[in-house]
């Protein structure tokens, strides 16, 4: 692999008072045991926009994403330092309740992971646990979220069938419906299309474009065309650092950093 100067960076500072920031990180470091995987990443994410995190395997983009809603907490030996600011609070501190925070910062994973429950229960289960018992509200949520996720027409007659019988693309859209049922502010998506076929991927992208009217979306993707098609901003990750962060249009047409240019043009590695 070609080596690049990791000090050579261009990070656009979005937090300039001109726009609304939904989430920002300040000097995030993530380490597993003695190995540091993320070496200080500071990015700000604009509200109601889609931000794509791109980079090669092992660049740390997924690890960074997973630290945003503290999913790394559950992996023994993982340590995350730095600030993650959400609504003026540092969610990476003990004063913020991690479970409450995850209701506002939802996540969809690479592998579709519906619960071994019915489609209906997949969406309503967490809501019920969080205290929502009204049947009409739950019914309503199931319908609206499935519609938003583009799955309603296909499953509206099978709501009480097992979700495990769904195809990969359907299951992933169910997971999106399940995540937005929590009415989050921010949706984190960790390569949501990685295991989907091209048609499912296209449907998923349409869904995301519609969702950004209501949610701030941060998506990790391997697929540069995908990042180019759907995202407003793009961050390029390399070996645990964010080397370039800018409007997607600029990243793909006039990158400021050599590494980014090599990656987006396919001359990487």
């Amino acid at each position: 692999m070609k080596t690049y100067d990791s000090e050579d960076r261009y990070i656009k500072d979005l937090d300039d008072g001109k726009r609304e920031i939904a989430l920002s990180t300040d000097d995030i470091h993530v380490s597993y045991g003695t190995h540091e995987a993320i070496h200080g990443v500071s990015l700000a994410f604009e509200r109601f926009k889609i931000t794509a995190l791109i980079g090669a395997s092992g660049s740390g983009k997924s690890t960074y994403l997973r630290s945003l809603n503290r999913m790394n907490d559950n992996i023994a030996g993982t340590k995350v330092t730095g600030k993650i600011m959400y609504r003026g609070l540092d969610v990476n501190s003990n004063e913020v309740d991690v479970y409450e925070m995850r209701k506002h910062i939802g996540m969809v994973f690479q592998q579709p992971n519906p619960f071994a429950k019915s489609i209906y229960d997949n969406i309503t289960f967490a809501l019920q646990r969080h205290g929502e018992k009204r049947k009409d509200v739950l019914d309503e949520t199931v319908e609206t979220t499935l519609k938003q996720a583009g799955l309603w027409e296909q499953v509206k007659d099978d709501l009480h069938q097992s979700a495990l019988a769904l195809s990969g693309g359907q299951a992933q859209r169910l997971c999106i419906a399940r995540a937005i049922a929590m009415k989050p502010d921010i949706l984190l998506l960790d390569e949501p299309a990685a295991v989907l076929d091209p048609i499912s991927t296209a449907t998923l992208e349409e869904t995301l474009m519609e969702l950004k009217e209501r949610y701030t979306i941060i998506i990790v993707t391997h697929n540069m065309q995908q990042a180019g098609r759907i995202s407003d901003y793009t961050a390029f990750f390399h070996l645990g650092n964010a080397l370039e962060y800018d409007e997607t249009r600029k990243i793909f047409t006039r990158p400021k950093i050599q590494a980014t240019e090599d990656y987006v043009s396919g001359h990487f590695g």
């Binding site: 609504r87 609070l89 309740d97 991690v98 479970y99 409450e100 506002h104 646990r129 969080h130």
Partner: protein, 308 residues
């Protein structure tokens, strides 16, 4: 919800976080109870079993090698007669003999199930073995009493009660355990080994004998030791057919006894705290320690196997 409300909620301890604390507490309590049980088994059995040596001043060596078990009487020198050797010999005899007979059968059945006919193995032999495991030990004892003992009596003479009958009963009892563990050991041999051997022109039996069995030796030994541990601790089935004579066994068809059989027969007939009672607890302590030794042996074999 407005911003202030959301902030306030984020700073409160949520329902989920209280729930998490509750769950940790409950599951932690459950595991603590189990650990407490294990510790107290060792504590109580050891404190009773060691009393023979510390309070009644019985010599440990004499206990292990003495051949006369008559705790209520004293010998000519005034020493208590608590020689456990007859039972120790009895226990080890039935254990080893049962393992010696069971091993070839277990290996044979396991090879059949993994190498010769996996289909028949899965459809027929597997359920048969699971059912054999499920039969309660008193039922084995009863069949031993009504089938094996008369058979031994007619074939070999004597009363029919004794180590031989105990061996036959234990053989059937440990066979399923040893077989299924051997199956696991054989299954863990990579398929490539077999293919390589067959490709070199070896017959199926040569492949099994020279490759598969060699590669899984430590797993097979582990299975056998595990079966021995089972056999050593089995109480009622053995007690019903062994004859319960506390004599050093002279041959395989004379009545004998094992640690477990003496315990099941004797514990109800002695007074707590008396020497004869304490001596029984010493036998129980032996019975408690043996699985540990078998356990250590299994691990040691496992490590050896892994190193190769």
């Amino acid at each position: 919800m407005n911003n202030d409300e959301i902030r306030a909620n984020l700073l409160k301890r949520s329902r989920a976080s209280r729930n998490e604390r509750f769950g940790k507490l409950i599951s932690g309590a459950c595991i603590t109870i189990i650990i407490a049980v294990v510790v107290s088994i060792f504590y109580f059995v050891a404190s009773k079993g060691l009393a023979t040596f510390f309070e009644d001043k019985v010599n440990l060596w004499k206990f292990l090698t003495g051949t006369i078990w008559n705790p209520s009487a004293k010998d000519a020198q005034g020493n208590p007669q608590v020689g456990a050797l007859p039972m120790i010999v009895g226990s080890f005899s039935v254990t080893f003999l049962a393992a010696i007979i069971a091993t070839p059968f277990a290996i044979g059945a396991a090879v059949f199930m993994t190498e010769i006919s996996p289909r028949l193995g899965k459809k027929v032999l597997q359920p048969v073995i699971e059912l054999l495991v499920g039969i309660p030990s008193v039922v084995y004892g009863f069949i031993g009493l009504s089938v094996v003992v008369p058979f031994v009596r007619h074939t070999f003479g004597g009363s029919g009660f004794g180590i031989l009958s105990g061996t036959f009963v234990l053989f059937v009892m440990i066979l399923p355990t040893v077989t299924s563990m051997t199956v696991d050991a054989l299954k863990s041999v990579p398929r490539a080994y077999r293919e390589a051997s067959l490709a070199l022109g070896a017959t199926r039996w040569q492949t099994i004998y020279k490759v598969v069995l060699r590669a899984s030796t430590s797993g097979i030994i582990t299975a056998v030791v595990f079966g021995m541990s089972r056999a050593f601790g089995e109480a009622l089935a053995v007690q019903m057919v062994i004859g319960n004579a506390m004599l050093l066994p002279q041959n395989l068809i004379s009545p004998a006894s094992t640690l477990t059989s003496v315990l099941t027969m004797g514990m109800g007939n002695s007074v707590m705290g008396s020497l004869s009672n304490n001596a029984l607890w010493s036998l129980a302590l032996l019975l408690l320690i043996m699985p540990l030794i078998f356990n250590i042996l299994i691990r040691w074999i496992g490590k050896k196997g892994a190193m190769r």
